[in-house]
């Protein structure tokens, strides 16, 4: 399985991370590395775009939960956008959909930051 990352840092302190591929045990450590890199840069807000993630397992969810915890510690906003049906369903089963800040698009996620 291959996974791809595209990150985009705007001048005003927001970063977007677009992930393409399945997030499972073999790829979630790469997601973690990309997230820690962004957190190190002390952004105001990090938006993770999951439009092209059609599969996520518990290791992927755990990685995003870690991101959420870092965001609390760093006073960084941490937002998710464009959840595919499978990803949304997994968040719902885990009862995490309301714990995260989830948006329908990058634009909405970046509004008012």
């Amino acid at each position: 399985m291959s996974i791809e990352f595209q990150s985009n840092e705007s001048g005003n302190g927001t970063a977007t991370l677009v992930i393409t591929g399945d997030i499972d045990m073999s790829t979630s450590t790469l997601v973690r590395t990309h997230l820690t890199d962004l957190f190190k840069k002390k952004q105001k807000a990090i938006v993770v775009d999951l439009a092209k993630v059609s599969y996520i397992d518990s290791s992927g969810i755990a990685t995003l939960v870690e991101g959420l915890q870092w965001s609390h510690n760093n006073n960084t906003k941490f937002r998710l956008t464009n959840l595919t049906p499978m990803v949304k369903d997994v968040f719902e089963i885990a009862r995490l959909l309301t714990v995260f800040e989830v948006y329908d698009s990058q634009e909405e996620a970046l509004e008012g930051i």
Binding site: M25, S58, V90
Partner: protein, 141 residues
Amino acid sequence: MAESVKLTIPSDSKYLCLVRKVLHHLLLERQLSEEAAQRLILCVDEACSNIIKYSYAGCPDLPIEISFSLADDSFQAKIRDYGKQCDSRKIKPRPLDKIEPGGLGTYFMNEIMDEVSYCTDRETGTLLTMCKHLKNELTSS
């Protein structure tokens, strides 16, 4: 009548997507909805991940034997490893109200499947059996 397909992979996480692909193929052939299929796939993936992490402790070339049986109204996956056995009472999810990483895999399996049972009544390894009734999961019936 249940027909079964068996798949054996090495205990390397790079094969998990092959397992998902095979199961996806079988479930969609049986007219399962995409959502129902993805949930079953998640459970099998989590079970294999746990074998890789715990039973085989990261050793990447030991066998994981998976068999899928699909009957008209039920799905069964049997997953066999030859690694470290453990007390199956110790395999359990964390309480969901504590928001923290980890402990979700077995939670998904128990939440989604109708039956999840670990059997270590053999010389080495574990046989995990997971079942799901499919009455309302079919797109066409």
